[in-house]
């Protein structure tokens, strides 16, 4: 809500500067921003009562310890109940309905320039003096009003929900709205004349020819007005107030104030004030236990001081006992319903900044259930030269289906920001591809990146989120050094990098298996398991799923940190051998269809005596090797815990190994 500083200053009868005045309001909970000659108030949704000069004045006076404000001048009228004017109001949506017919208007003048400029600077356009006056009273005291052309109404009025599901209504401004049966409406004998609390119909609107009017002031319940204006794309100043709540006892005063001001700009023949109410709002009482308040706040406020503060805010003492004071809540403070609400009022007045602070307290010691795998993996990657990136999770249908299998059902947004990206990601790779692309375009040639975040899936009932840590390695051109050293990043560099990371974090027993879940990898990919738990997949990126964002061979990985528990790794330490290691190399020729994994498995299952480890140190194809075969040089390391091994013992173990390879894999020993 924007208010002219000069107008507000006069209304509040204060000399405070614009800055000081803004500070005062900010300090009591109405955040202000200065915009030229205006102050913009950010009124929180619970304080609809403050959306007027009068509302701000109440707060100002209370906190400045000034006397409550004078009553505004009004022209008082007698209330009349007449079914021929207001026939029926629906109590579920409307608390009271007031209608003030003014007949025979003559010599209508504009409002004075101060009021006009005040209305305009609040962001409300000037339309017609009779309408402007209604808007002025709304800004002044907070009750929204509507002005009908009385000659265009066929009374009586009914306030009700339409019987038809859909009703076409041309509203002020000429737009046709499909008014639904869930919207409370004001109807005369010819149909809908207004959507309650939002806008009137074009048909009954006032014009320069209007000579009789019916001014409406009503209490529409927030429950029936909220979200209605949005639905019709008609957020108005009136709807904003009704949604937040309007003082249900203000309507008569508002109309009498309108009439008082109307006298200054026009003449008329007659005026009457009709009303109907569904049921009177009950006076609310709320109890305050000052001792409990002091415990809650850390203050030691006396009951007398608490009473003084609340009285200033318009609360009246209803009853008082030794322990409690019960307050009568004024009708405009519909936000107050429980004791804690009074605490807030007391603290607001006392000043939050004046509440003494205590030293930070610690909670009880608890077993940390938090899985720290993610933090450790992230640091490991950072130390290997990876940059962490973050992206929005919204993706297009195409890129979703490129990266997710058919049985991965997407989580789809009902109201996406960008219609082209209505799905939540099922993979982090789309963003990584785009990141590679944009940075290569910028001139980067070596890129190592990763992202950690949730991916989403729709399930039979509800949705599933799982946490992924995905990364990519991309070299747009081979790395060169001035010393001509070869630095090639390939699948095995990736395998080494991820193995090192997992081993460094204490995962000794990882197993690689050819993968069954490919995307976004081509067939050169591996699953990584710990026991039966799949903890990661690594592989070469299948370039056809990158939507041309990645043009050259790239490598990637997905790690599932939720599947890794580092806390449980607690190794049993054994005594180490003090005897030397002995190594032996052999060359074996194998059929190329045999994978290295089979070689490894055969040897590992052989239970070779004294064998500590073995590894592949060379492979060779070509000269002297039969077609379809490959020669492997394997290095074996032997050691005993109890003695230095004799040549003959080592030879025996080597022979066993060779026999094993010959028998199981049909290996030939190459001299």
């Amino acid at each position: 809500m924007k208010i002219q500083y000069s107008y507000l200053k006069n209304f509040l009868n204060t000399n405070l500067s614009q800055k000081k005045l803004s500070d005062v309001f900010t300090q009591v909970g109405f955040e202000c921003e200065i915009e030229g000659s205006l102050i913009e108030f950010d009124i929180t949704p619970n304080r609809g009562d403050a959306l007027s000069l009068r509302g701000l004045e109440r707060e100002f006076n209370a906190h400045q310890l000034k006397k409550p404000s004078q009553k505004l001048q009004t022209s008082s009228l007698k209330l009349i109940q007449d079914k021929k004017i207001i026939n029926h109001i629906d109590g579920s949506g409307c608390g009271n309905y007031h209608l003030m017919p003014v007949k025979g208007l003559k010599g209508i003048k504009n409002l004075d320039s101060k009021k006009r400029s005040f209305i305009e600077s609040a962001g409300i356009p000037l339309i017609n003096p009779l309408v402007d006056l209604g808007n002025y009273v709304m800004l002044e005291i907070g009750a929204p009003m509507h002005v009908f052309d009385l000659d265009k109404l066929s009374l009586p009025i009914n306030v009700r929900f339409p019987q038809e599901k859909h009703n076409a209504v041309t509203v002020i401004g000429g737009d046709v709205k499909d008014v639904q049966s869930s919207s409370l409406t004001i109807q005369d004998q010819s149909g809908i004349q207004a959507i309650a609390g939002i806008i009137g119909s074009e048909a009954s609107s006032v014009s320069s020819k209007t000579s009789s009017i019916a001014v409406e002031a009503a209490f529409f319940r927030p429950e029936v007005t909220v979200n209605q204006a949005r639905k019709y794309g008609l957020a108005t100043d009136a709807s904003h107030r009704f949604e937040r709540g309007v003082d249900p006892e203000l309507q008569q005063t508002a109309l009498e104030r309108y009439l008082f001001l109307l006298d200054q700009i026009a003449e008329y023949d007659s005026v009457e004030l009709y009303y109907s109410y569904s049921h009177k709002t009950k006076k609310k009482n709320v109890k305050l236990d000052v001792a409990r308040f002091n415990k809650f706040s850390g203050l030691s406020l006396k009951a007398s001081k608490a009473i003084l503060i609340l009285k200033n805010l318009g609360f009246k003492v209803h009853t008082r006992s030794e322990k409690n004071v019960t307050f009568n809540i004024p009708s405009h403070r519909f936000d107050i319903s429980m004791e804690e609400d009074l605490y807030e009022e007391l603290l607001r007045s006392y000043g939050y900044d004046n509440i003494p602070i205590s030293k930070p307290k610690a909670g009880p010691i608890v077993n940390n259930k938090q899985n720290n795998a993610l933090d450790n993996l992230r640091l490991g990657l950072v130390h290997s030269g990876f940059k962490e990136l973050m992206h929005m999770p919204f993706v297009s249908r195409d890129s979703f289906h490129q990266l997710n299998s058919n049985n991965w059902k997407p989580a789809e947004l009902h109201n996406p920001i960008n219609e082209n990206e209505p799905l939540l990601r099922g993979s982090l790779f789309r963003s990584l591809f785009a990141a590679v692309n944009s940075n290569v375009k910028k001139g980067y040639t070596s890129i190592k990146i990763f992202e950690a975040g949730n991916v989403f899936k729709k399930e039979k009932s509800g949705f599933n989120q799982s946490f992924h840590l995905s990364g990519m390695i991309y070299y747009h051109e081979p790395q060169q050094t001035w010393s001509q050293k070869e630095l090639i990043y390939d699948f095995f560099s990736l395998k080494g990098e991820i193995s090192k990371l997992l081993h460094t974090l204490g995962m000794q027993n990882i197993e690689f298996q050819k993968t069954s879940s490919l995307m976004p990898f081509n067939e050169n990919a591996l699953d990584i398991f710990i026991g039966k738990q799949k903890i990661a997949v690594i592989g070469e990126i299948e370039l056809s799923v990158t939507e041309k964002l990645v043009k050259k061979q790239a490598y990637g990985f997905v790690i599932y940190p939720e599947k890794i528990s580092l806390a449980s790794i607690n190794p049993k330490i054994v005594k180490t051998s003090k005897f030397p290691l002995s190594t032996r190399d052999i060359n074996v020729v194998l059929d190329k269809s045999i994978s290295y994994e089979e070689v490894e498995r055969s040897i590992s299952q052989g239970a070779i005596k004294h064998l500590v480890s073995f590894n592949l140190i060379n492979t060779f194809e070509g000269k002297d090797i039969p077609k379809g075969s490959v020669s492997m040089t394997l290095r074996f390391t032997f050691q005993s815990n109890t003695k230095s091994l004799l040549e003959s013992e080592i030879n025996r173990s080597m022979q066993m190994t060779l026999n094993l390879l010959e028998k199981r894999l049909n290996a030939k020993i190459r001299s």
Partner: protein, 327 residues
Amino acid sequence: MQIPQDLIETAALKLKSVQSEAEFFQLRAQYLGKKSFVVTAFSKLRDLQSDEKVNAAKELNLLKNNLTKLFEISLEDIEGQGDHKKLDVTLPADPFLVGSEHPITKISQKIINYFTPLNYQIFSGNEIETDFYNFEALNFPENHPARQMHDTFYLNSSSKSEYLLRTHTSNTQVHAMLDEDLPLYMLSPGRVFRCDSDTTHLPMFTQIEGLVVDEDVTFGDLKGVLIDFLEYFFNEKMEVRFRPSYFPFTEPSAEVDIKFGKQGWLEILGCGMVHPNVLNGCNIDTKKFRGFAFGMGVERLAMLYYGVTDIREFYSSNLDFLNQFPS
């Protein structure tokens, strides 16, 4: 023929004290050169009887081999020490890439690091949530205008409950209050979503919220921990002000501003005493327990901390931008 028994031992001893290559070759000549015992002894073999000759030759060969091996090993040591290629050590290093954590990760971690020593447990929670945990349990009744403060993304779903992307991490607090033992000291860091996008708002951002439910916690406790945290975070004495505000899940509610250089007062976090409706809804005895809660936007803190002016940079994958953050 007499072969001195200690020849190897004395040679080894002398080799130990060799200081330079020149000394080494001098010593080698002495033991294996033309005039050495071994070489002269070989030339004397021809004077011996044939059976004696075979034995002596065997012994001499062993001796010569051992001596040669001894000097070879020793030479390796000496060369290894002194002989190297001179490098231009100012030439560039092999290429390397420098990694770093994302600034949002770093700032989140910095915040968490303050609270973990105070035994706040960390809960990350669900990003897709039901209406109940995101709104209803947090005292946002249906059709309450406070819901309009949160532009919510809804998900298409055929199931009965309404699913949405959480608009704050308070949903995690509801889960924790329902599931965990009291007293509860917790932080809920994570991503949140609002259907809103312009130069200062993103549809996704990062929040860290804190919640304490304990006996006798006061508004003064809340103020104390937040002021202390802010001073830790910015590593200086801070001017902090608390002013009344409104959140449906706290009563009273406050915004916290800090005085930040020339920019004046800046809103930095929201907080309040947990609304009794929220505690009651989570089956917490409000006669015994009270709570306070606070929440902050990590991007906003990161922008202030690093002087970043455009929030979109954080999600732009721009390596030029990210290279500026040390690890």
